[in-house]
C-alpha cells in the first residue's frame, strides 16, 4: 500500500468519525439549546407568579379569536366524536344576569392556575403539578387518565383526550388517554413570549386580556389589579386563582 493510499484512508476514517460524532451529538446540542431557551441562563423562579387579568367590559360577544389562537398554537383539533368529547383549553362563556337589567357579559374561561389547585391535591400520581412560577401543568408521562382532577376542578377547565391525536405541535406534547388543560402557553413563556390567546386578543383590537407577573409590583398587571376592581371566580373556595376578571 502506498503512502498516498494510507493518507487517503486515514483522512476517510477521520472524516467518518467526525461525521458520526456530529450526527450523534447535534440533536443533543440542539435539545440543550431549546432547554436553555426559557429565560436565558435562568431556571423557573418562584419569585415570579404568572397571571392574567381579563377585562370583561372589553371582551366582545361573538369574538373567539383567543380560542382560535389557542387551538392553532397548541394544535388542538376538533375530535371525531361528540362536541363534549373534544378538548377545549379555553372557551368563551356568555353570561346573562338573571335579575335587574339582565346585563350581558362575555368572557374567556380556562385553567385558572390556582395557587392552591384542587387538581394537584387529588391527582394520585402527582402528574398534575404546579410549576415554581405558578403555572399548573399535567405531566403527560405519568398521567394515568383517572380523571379525578376533572371531577375536582371547580372551573371545568380540564379536558380528557378521548381519541388518537394527529398533527401535534412538537413543543406541546399531548396524548390519548391523558388529561390536559391550558398551560398559559408555557412553551412561549419559556421563550419570553406571552400566551397566544393574549396576543390574539390584542391583535383583534379588544385588548381584553393582560398577561404578566403578579408578583412584580412595577409590572402592568400588578398595577392594574391594585387600581381596578377585579374578582376571582369562585373566590369562596379560596384557591387564589392566577386569572382575575374585571367588570363582573
Amino acid at each position: 500500500m502506498s503512502e498516498e493510499q494510507k493518507t487517503g484512508r486515514r483522512a476517510f476514517i477521520a472524516a467518518s468519525v467526525g461525521a458520526a460524532g456530529f450526527v450523534a451529538l447535534a440533536p443533543g446540542v440542539k435539545l440543550m439549546d431549546l432547554a436553555q431557551a426559557r429565560a436565558p441562563g435562568e431556571s423557573v423562579s418562584g419569585k415570579v407568579r404568572w397571571g392574567m387579568l381579563i377585562d370583561t367590559t372589553k371582551c366582545a360577544t361573538g369574538c373567539s379569536d383567543c380560542v382560535a389562537a389557542c387551538a392553532t398554537e397548541n394544535a388542538i383539533e376538533p375530535g371525531s366524536g361528540r362536541p363534549a368529547q373534544s378538548s377545549q383549553w379555553i372557551r368563551k362563556i356568555e353570561l346573562k344576569e338573571k335579575t335587574g337589567g339582565h346585563r350581558e357579559l362575555s368572557l374567556p374561561m380556562m385553567c385558572q392556575h390556582c395557587a392552591n389547585p384542587p387538581c394537584v391535591d387529588v391527582c394520585p400520581t402527582g402528574a398534575s403539578f404546579k410549576r415554581a412560577d405558578g403555572i399548573v401543568l399535567v405531566d403527560r408521562h405519568i398521567c394515568i387518565g383517572c380523571r379525578y382532577c376533572m371531577m375536582a376542578c371547580p372551573y371545568q377547565a380540564r379536558s380528557f383526550v378521548h381519541e388518537p391525536l394527529h398533527h401535534q405541535n412538537p413543543e406541546v406534547p399531548r396524548g390519548q388517554g391523558c388529561v390536559e388543560a391550558c398551560t398559559f402557553c408555557v412553551q412561549r413563556i419559556d421563550r419570553g413570549q406571552g400566551p397566544a390567546c393574549v396576543e390574539a386578543c390584542g391583535k383583534s383590537g379588544h385588548e381584553a386580556m393582560l398577561f404578566g407577573d403578579l408578583n412584580d409590583p412595577g409590572g402592568e398587571i400588578a398595577k392594574r389589579i391594585s387600581t381596578v376592581a377585579s374578582s376571582q371566580v369562585r373566590a369562596d373556595l379560596r384557591l387564589d386563582p392566577g386569572v382575575r376578571y374585571q367588570g363582573i
Binding site: A84, R91, Y148
Partner: protein, 404 residues
C-alpha cells in the same frame, strides 16, 4: 361444635363449569371492551368531558363498597364472638376479596392509560385520597388473605381473632376512603359533604350483607347443601338495621343540603326535577332499595324467600344509588357565576345527558363476572363452605333450645 363441621369443595361439576363458562363469556366481553376502548380511545363511550365517570365507575364503586360489607359475617364471628357465624366466615372473606378484585379491575381497565398502572403503583401523591385508596385496597387484600389463612388453617385459628379485628377496622377505613373520594370534591354541589363517608359505610354494610346472603344461598343450592333458617333469620335483623341506617344517612345528607339555600338547585334536580335521576332515586334507591326490603324483612311472617327477595331489592337499589350519586352529581352543572345564566361551547349552565355505550356496559358487567368467577373457582378448589349448614350443625344449642 365447630370441630365436627366438615368443609368441602363444590361437588357439582356440571353446574360449576356452566357458571364458570357464563362468567368467562362476560369476562371476555369486558376485556374486549377494554381493548377496544384502549385502541380507539374513550371517544367510543358515552363518557365525555362533562360526565367523566360513567357506568364502569357505578359498577366499580358498588363492588368496592359491597366488598367491605361482605366481610360482615366474618367480623361478626371473629370480632364480636358470635360462634354461629364462624363456619360461614371463610365465604365472607372470599366474597369480599372477590368483589374488591372485580371492582378494581373495572376501575383500572377504564383508565385512560391503564398500561401505566405501574406508575400508579410506584408514584404517590399522599395528599390524594385516590393514592390512600391504593394502599387501602392492596392492604385489604393482604389482611383478608391472611385472615382467611388463619381461619382455614386449623393450627392458625388462634390468630384469626386479632387479624379479624384488623380487617374490621381496615375495611371501615377503606369505605371511609371510598366515600371521601366524593366528599372531598369541594367544587361539586352534589358531593362535598362529610356525611359521604359514614353514608358509604352504611351502604357497604347493607350491600355487602345482601350480596353475601345471595351468594350463600346460591352456593348451597349448587350442591344441595342444607342451610338452616336460624342463621339466615339472624342475618335478616342485621340487614334490616343496615338498610335503615343507610336510609337515615341519605335523609340526613339531603336534608343538610336543603338547609343551605345555595344547594337548592341540585337538590331540586335530584329529588324533583331530574328525570332519570329523580326516578332512580325515589323508585330505585328509596322504594326498591330501602322501603321494600324493610317491609320484606320486618313484616310478620318473614321467610327465606322474602329475605332473599329483599337482598335482590337491596342490590338493585344499590346500583340505582351509585348511578344517582356518581352520574347525577356530574350531570348537574357547576355554578361558576352565581346570579348569571351561563352558556358556552363547553356546555356551561346545561344539565348534561349520559347514555352508556355497549363498551362501558360490557366492561362493567365484566367486573361483576370476574368477582363471581373468583368465588366460584375458589369454592371449587378450596374448602370454604361446610358440607352441612343446617341449624343443628351450625348452632346445636339453639336447635336444642327450640326443641325443648
Amino acid at each position: 361444635m365447630a370441630a365436627n363441621i366438615v368443609y368441602r369443595e363444590i361437588a357439582n361439576k356440571r353446574t360449576f363449569w356452566l357458571l364458570l363458562a357464563l362468567c368467562g363469556v362476560f369476562i371476555a366481553g369486558g376485556f374486549w371492551a377494554h381493548l377496544t376502548m384502549e385502541h380507539h380511545g374513550h371517544v367510543i363511550t358515552g363518557m365525555d368531558n362533562r360526565i367523566v365517570w360513567g357506568l364502569p365507575h357505578v359498577f366499580a364503586v358498588f363492588l368496592i363498597v359491597a366488598a367491605s360489607g361482605a366481610l360482615n359475617v366474618a367480623s361478626t364471628a371473629s370480632v364480636f364472638g358470635k360462634s354461629i357465624y364462624k363456619p360461614l366466615a371463610p365465604l365472607s372473606g372470599l366474597l369480599s376479596v372477590a368483589l374488591l378484585a372485580g371492582g378494581l379491575a373495572v376501575l383500572v381497565l377504564d383508565l385512560g392509560r391503564s398500561d401505566r398502572i405501574i406508575v400508579a403503583a410506584t408514584r404517590y401523591n399522599f395528599k390524594s385520597i385516590f393514592a390512600w385508596n391504593i394502599f387501602l385496597y392492596t392492604g385489604f387484600f393482604a389482611i383478608v388473605g391472611g385472615y382467611l389463612w388463619m381461619m382455614m388453617e386449623r393450627r392458625m385459628n388462634a390468630y384469626a381473632k386479632p387479624l379479624g379485628a384488623t380487617a374490621f377496622i381496615w375495611r371501615l377505613v377503606l369505605t371511609t376512603g371510598t366515600g371521601s373520594i366524593f366528599g372531598f370534591l369541594i367544587a361539586r354541589e352534589a358531593y362535598q359533604s362529610a356525611v359521604m363517608a359514614p353514608m358509604f359505610i352504611s351502604f357497604s354494610l347493607s350491600y355487602g350483607t345482601a350480596l353475601y346472603l345471595l351468594t350463600l344461598a346460591a352456593a348451597c343450592a349448587i350442591d344441595d347443601r342444607p342451610l338452616g333458617d336460624a342463621v339466615v333469620r339472624r342475618l335478616k335483623n342485621l340487614l334490616a338495621t343496615f338498610v335503615a341506617a343507610s336510609l337515615y344517612f341519605v335523609a340526613v345528607f339531603h336534608l343538610t343540603n336543603l338547609y343551605f339555600t345555595r344547594n337548592h338547585g341540585v337538590e331540586n334536580f335530584i329529588l324533583v326535577d331530574g328525570g332519570i335521576f329523580t326516578a332512580l332515586f325515589w323508585l330505585g334507591q328509596v322504594a326498591i332499595g330501602s322501603v321494600l326490603p324493610l317491609f320484606l324483612l320486618l313484616a310478620p311472617g318473614v321467610n327465606r324467600c322474602r329475605i332473599l327477595l329483599s337482598c335482590i331489592a337491596i342490590v338493585i337499589g344499590g346500583f340505582c344509588q351509585m348511578y344517582v350519586t356518581i352520574i347525577g352529581g356530574q350531570a348537574w352543572p357547576l355554578d361558576l357565576f352565581p346570579g348569571f345564566a351561563a352558556s358556552s361551547s363547553f356546555f356551561d349552565g346545561e344539565i348534561h345527558g349520559y347514555v352508556p355505550s355497549l363498551w362501558e356496559t360490557l366492561l362493567a358487567l365484566g367486573g361483576v363476572a370476574l368477582a363471581a368467577a373468583i368465588v366460584i373457582v375458589a369454592l371449587k378448589l378450596l374448602r370454604f363452605l361446610p358440607e352441612r349448614m343446617d341449624d343443628q350443625t351450625l348452632d346445636p344449642s339453639h336447635s336444642d333450645a327450640r326443641a325443648q
